[in-house]
């Protein structure tokens, strides 16, 4: 069951990508692509790319070098694609609030640069296991680098929204949550693989990766397709002051 080319393996590779394409089609029909064009395109292109890799994996005519080269190229292209997706989500988050947009743009650029530096340092320390199959090790290191940057940016977006108490909205929240779960799990798995651990049990990590990707797609299905609950306009009463309590607190601070 938990082996390469088992029924579960085929299911976990095929199903999430097919679901991703179905989701892209649903979202395009609902006009989601007008609001989030990059993310919708990412869903469609990402699903196709993974299905191409699946076909390359099972076709005997494709050499392992060709497969891993294609995997590396796809990884770099989709890493850049995801950066654009995060930029799109972030711009939706701050576009209504110019008072924090400038700071947010500066912060996310600084965080991105710092994460790139960390990923480079981590890559420099990762070993090349077998020089004859160096491209495989390089692909693993590249995966580790991509997920260091990706999980860092997702964490930053959540922290930024939490600090400023910004309502993410169901769609942005669901998209970020899916990416967050996927990125953190993939970071842990690729850190193990890229650093030469669990050499004889890597198939387990592959299953783990594929299962978390499946969960991510299901999270997106739920948050992007289930209608958003209408916001309830509440008649909030702002309270009057309580000077006495506040002064007691100050006294305590000034004369401990």
């Amino acid at each position: 069951m938990l082996q390469a080319h088992s029924i579960l393996w085929h299911y976990l590779w095929l199903a999430p990508n097919l679901l991703q394409l179905v989701l892209a089609a649903f979202l395009a029909r609902r006009g989601f692509h007008r609001e989030f064009p990059i993310f919708t395109l990412y869903l469609a292109a990402g699903g196709i790319e993974d299905l191409v890799l699946y076909a390359m994996d099972i076709l005997p005519a494709v050499t392992w070098q060709a497969y891993w080269t294609a995997s590396c190229v796809g990884l770099v292209i989709f890493a850049l694609f995801k950066i654009l997706v995060f930029g799109e989500l972030f711009s939706h988050l701050v576009r209504s609030w110019p008072s924090i947009a400038k700071l947010g743009n500066r912060l996310i650029s600084a965080v991105g640069a710092l994460l790139l530096l960390l990923a480079t340092v981590a890559a420099a320390y990762a070993p090349i296991e077998n020089p004859q199959h160096a491209i495989i090790s390089r692909e693993h290191i590249l995966e580790q680098s991509v997920y260091i940057i990706q999980s860092g940016i997702i964490l930053f977006l959540f922290l930024f929204a939490a600090y400023f108490r910004l309502r993410l909205g169901q769609r942005i929240f669901g998209t970020l949550l899916g990416f967050g779960v996927l990125s953190c799990q993939h970071l842990a798995a690729w850190a193990i693989t890229a650093n030469g651990l669990m050499f004889n049990h890597r198939y387990l990590l592959d299953f783990f990766d594929m299962a978390s990707y499946h969960i991510c797609i299901l999270i997106w299905f739920y948050y992007l397709l289930v209608p958003e609950k209408a916001a309830i306009s509440s008649q909030v009463r702002l309270p009057g002051h309580n000077l006495e309590i506040w002064n007691q607190e100050l006294e305590r601070l000034l004369h401990p």
């Binding site: 964490l155 306009s233 309270p239 000077l243």
Partner: protein, 178 residues
């Protein structure tokens, strides 16, 4: 090996933090009105005294350098407490303002938008002011400029008052304790 373990721990902590933020955020949206009780009035005059350069100069002239450093540290800690309270109030007002954005009344919606915008500015400035205060705590003889946050907070009080009046004309709204 060590790098892998570090990255696994970082990944696990990041996931836990993301899930925590997601859950806490969902709970806060459901809380609705009850968050308004968390607003604490701010004694703006006392805050103004704490950050006043003339007060600081007065203390510097009348105290020995050692005494001044001690007093200045106390004043800075009090200032930090004020700023944290201002930031907390701003967070509550962002929550209230965002809830009020869903209203159909354009006047209330405009007031809510204004409130959220100013509260975000105050929260941003509060974070920057706290960083500056903690840097100054390490060097108590350095100058501290927190007047900007005070001006923003006073504008924010005005916006909150306007929104409160539009939503509940009979309810007095006050964030500053004069």
């Amino acid at each position: 090996m060590i790098l892998a373990v570090v990255l696994i721990v970082v990944a696990a902590l990041s996931l836990a933090l993301i899930l925590r933020i997601a859950i806490v955020g969902s709970l806060q949206v459901r809380k609705g009105e009850s968050v308004a009780k968390n607003i604490q009035p701010i004694d703006v005059e006392a805050f103004r005294n704490l950050v006043s350069p003339s007060e600081r100069e007065y203390l510097r002239r009348h105290l020995t350098p050692a005494q001044f450093r001690v007093v200045q540290r106390l004043r800075l800690r009090a200032t930090a407490a004020y700023v944290q309270e201002v930031a907390r109030n701003a967070a509550v007002l962002i929550h209230i303002g965002q809830a009020a954005l869903a209203t159909t009344d354009p006047l209330t919606q405009q007031a809510a938008r204004e409130l959220v915008s100013q509260a975000l500015l105050v929260r941003r400035n509060a974070a920057l002011a706290l960083i500056r205060i903690y840097v100054t705590l390490a060097l108590p003889t350095a100058t501290l400029e927190a007047a900007g946050i005070l001006a923003n907070y006073e504008r924010l009080s005005g916006s909150a008052m306007l929104l409160g009046r539009l939503q509940n004309p009979s309810t007095p709204v006050r964030l500053s304790a004069q």
